[in-house]
Amino acid sequence: MSAILELKHLRKNYGALAVTDDVSLAVDAGELHAIIGPNGAGKTTLIHQISGLAPSDSGQILFDGRDVTRAPMHERVRAGLARSFQITSILPGFTARENVAVAVQARSGSSFRFFGDPARERDLDAQAMEALAIVGLTGRADVTAGQLSHGEKRQLELAIGLATRPKLLLLDEPLAGTGKEESERVVETLLGLKGRYTIVLIEHDMDAVFALADRVSVLVYGRVVATGAPDAVRSDPAVREAYLGEEAA
Amino acid sequence: MYTTLILVQTLNGLQFGIILFLIAAGLTLVFGVMDFINLAHGVQYMIGAYFAFAFTSWTGSFGLGLLLALPAALVFGLLLEALVFRHLYDKDHLEQVLATFGIILFLNQGVKVVWGSSPLFVPVPEFLQGSIVLFEGFFYPTYRLAIIGAGLGVAALLYVLVNYTRAGMLVRAGATNAKMVSALGVDIRRLFMIVFGFGAMLAGFAGAMVAPILSVEPGMGDNLLILAFVVIVIGGIGSIRGAFLAALIIGLVDTLGRTFAGDVLRLFMDPGAASTVGRAVAPMLIYILMAAVLFFRPAGLFPVKR
């Protein structure tokens, strides 16, 4: 299998504190790769670095055979790297449909068009509705996004990510803040996506991680302490001590 | 002769910078701590000058006038805070612009109604009249030196207040992260009120101090306000230290630029063109400086916010 995303000695400091420290990691095409770790391990920062929201202090990010270490976020997205945010990030004043359609628009044709109503562009609309269908929001398409429930917003964000036709989807705690039913709904959606998309998933919910992941990497104090199949990672003594041990105690 | 001119203009620039600092100090705190755009800060300066005029004519003494003008400016600021500003903290910047612009219109007209629209003059207090010989053949007006001295005194006082008192600590913390301060159980509204009143008094003090050297007239704060904004943006919003440094820089650049831009340009072009271009460029210098600072340091020289 070939790696679609390769991180080489990636590092990010805030002042004297190394939030991510010499992170090297390879994500294979088609896999669902979960990154777990205790709070403050640097998971979200790592996602920010990969997506381009936060610049890296040193190291290298190779995506789809291309060095994107210094590329701005929007270029990485165009190269096929989509992400969701831990704190839901949508366009609250747009309808759900338009939230997704504007993502479709970003990759189909120029947006420097000053005339014509994009809502009438059937192609954009069809693709937007397709993405909404995948996450089960078809019936809520014309609701203003700000009015959706928290779980629906999480689903919407997933649909927005899918609408960019990503080669890799970075998901930053998609279950954060969702209730039991909502989180089951998200897990179900992710199971449906698994295999069709390469996914890097940060998640605190261990049940979800072990149900979904092909491989798991464990991040502790900014360093990768283990990578491997879920069962192997679970029984790794170093991981148990550094991380799972805390929960067992 | 030329050296004397440079020296005099440098001192003038310093004096102007000090006045700017007095205005900018309150503005940067109000802006930094409360995230509040107060266009009406310039009229506080104007009100201070008018108070100085009124109390000086009433008591017949500039010293007494100044002494009365300060608490009056403070009370006036607190009154404005209670009537208007308090209700604007939670509004967005545009609504703040709208309201404080309205206050400018009102007060600029208000002083016209009360004091008339012609410029008023406040005599320089007797013991500060005349000039001081700084060294052989170099005179400088005593009163301007007094402004520099008083301004530096206030700057030192502010430094102590902000760095070594509990209120000062809260103000600094508030400028960095207002939410956190209120989470600590501090009555943020009261803090705002104190900061606001204090800032108004400083601006009023600046107005009162310049009353004897400038004419007191409606709208005198409007352009000073913009300069104060330039100062706090260059210094970094919320930073007293930044405001102090930037105020001196702006004061010097503006004063020296207006005097010497033509002369400097003469080194590169013929005299006629140099003086024309110099006159055009001089008033723009500080804005060019500001654009340049923001280009290289988008959050000013001493960014406070994290």
Binding site: L53, P92, F112, T144 | H87, D92, H93, E95, A99, F106
Partner: protein, 336 residues
């Protein structure tokens, strides 16, 4: 630093959703009813004015329409782009001085002057926008203010063109060598045509693909980056468009009063443009027209009541800021 909301971001609330293009699906007539009514009023105003105070009223309406154009252009970046430009009067000034300076050199052809206006304002917008848009929030407000002040002081130093005192124009612009614009009624309808044209143009732009990206950036710039847009490019183009339209309003203003002056460019004028937009209701396009009219008419009416009209007008603005969220349009929308 990594928060999706930048800490230095200006606190600029997005207008209520019904003000945005979400209402784009409503029938054209209903959605634009207010705009049509306003334009109809403008169209028949000269007929009414004939009966009443004639030239004076006509002149006031012309001025209202010209400032409506400037306010409309500001609304594109302020209301739809959340970019609080505090130097917009500079573009009006550039339009004024393009006319004034060319006139002073005996170039009186309307098309040449208009072309110069649009080119100069586009260039100024491109350069200053490219720099300003690197900053965010209040810093953007202040840097646009700085550029506005630069143009202001530049014009005060143009001794050859009147300096501080301004410049009186010998005549209005010539159309194909004729002085047809000297007829006030012709000029009136030219201004009205420009207003309607600008309104239609901006309505199309905010509803287009481009407008959608601009509105999305207003709502959440990080989200827009995360789906592959570079907000900077769209904001810059919007800034240039707004600058050119404001330049057009300056072109008309100079022709209207046949006089240009640095006073048109002072920061207070930029503040007034912001106030017109906010007063009427930003992010609506109709709002700026209502705002410009209200501002100028109110000024005129109050000035008739008392010489100290600002004593009333100032507190009125404070009240609007405190109690009329969404401006005049928002106020009535809530009542309805």
């Amino acid at each position: 630093m990594l928060d999706t909301a930048s800490p230095a971001a200006a606190k600029v609330a997005a207008p209520p959703p019904e003000a945005g293009a979400t209402s784009a699906r409503a029938p054209l007539i209903r959605r634009e009813a207010l705009a049509f009514a306003l334009f109809a009023f403008f169209a028949i105003a000269p007929a009414i004015a004939q009966v009443g105070a004639e030239g004076y009223l006509l002149s006031l309406v012309i001025r209202a329409m010209i400032f409506a154009i400037a306010a409309l252009s500001l609304d594109l970046i302020l209301g739809y782009g959340a970019l609080v430009s505090f130097g917009h009067a500079a573009f009006v000034g550039i339009g004024c001085y393009a006319v004034g300076i060319l006139m002073a050199h005996s170039v009186s052809d309307l098309f040449v002057q208009l072309l110069a206006t649009l080119l100069a304002s586009a260039l100024f917008a491109l350069v200053t926008g490219a720099i300003s848009l690197r900053t965010k929030g209040v810093y953007f407000i202040m840097i646009t203010l700085a550029f506005g002040q630069m143009i202001y002081f530049l014009t005060t130093s143009l001794a050859a063109y009147g300096g501080d005192d301004g410049l009186t124009l010998p005549s209005r612009s010539a159309v194909f060598g004729t002085d047809v614009l000297e007829n006030d009624l012709v000029f009136y309808y030219l201004v009205l045509a420009c207003l309607v044209g600008v309104y239609a143009l901006l309505r199309a732009i905010v509803g287009s693909r481009f407008g959608r990206v601009l509105r999305g950036t207003r709502e959440n710039p990080v989200r827009m980056q995360a789906i592959g847009y570079d907000p900077y490019r769209y904001q810059l183009v919007a800034y240039v468009i707004a600058g050119m339209i404001a330049g057009l309003s300056g072109f008309l203003l100079a022709n209207h009063i046949e006089f240009v002056s640095p006073a048109f460019i002072s920061w207070q004028r930029s503040g007034e443009l912001i106030i017109m937009v906010v007063l009427g209701g930003m992010g609506t396009l109709v709002g700026p027209i209502v705002g410009a009219m209200s501002f100028l008419f109110l000024e005129e009416i109050l000035a008739r009541i008392t010489q100290d009209w600002k004593l009333i007008f100032g507190p009125l603005l404070v009240l609007v800021a405190l109690f009329a969220r969404g401006g005049i349009l928002g106020f009535f929308r809530r009542k309805a």
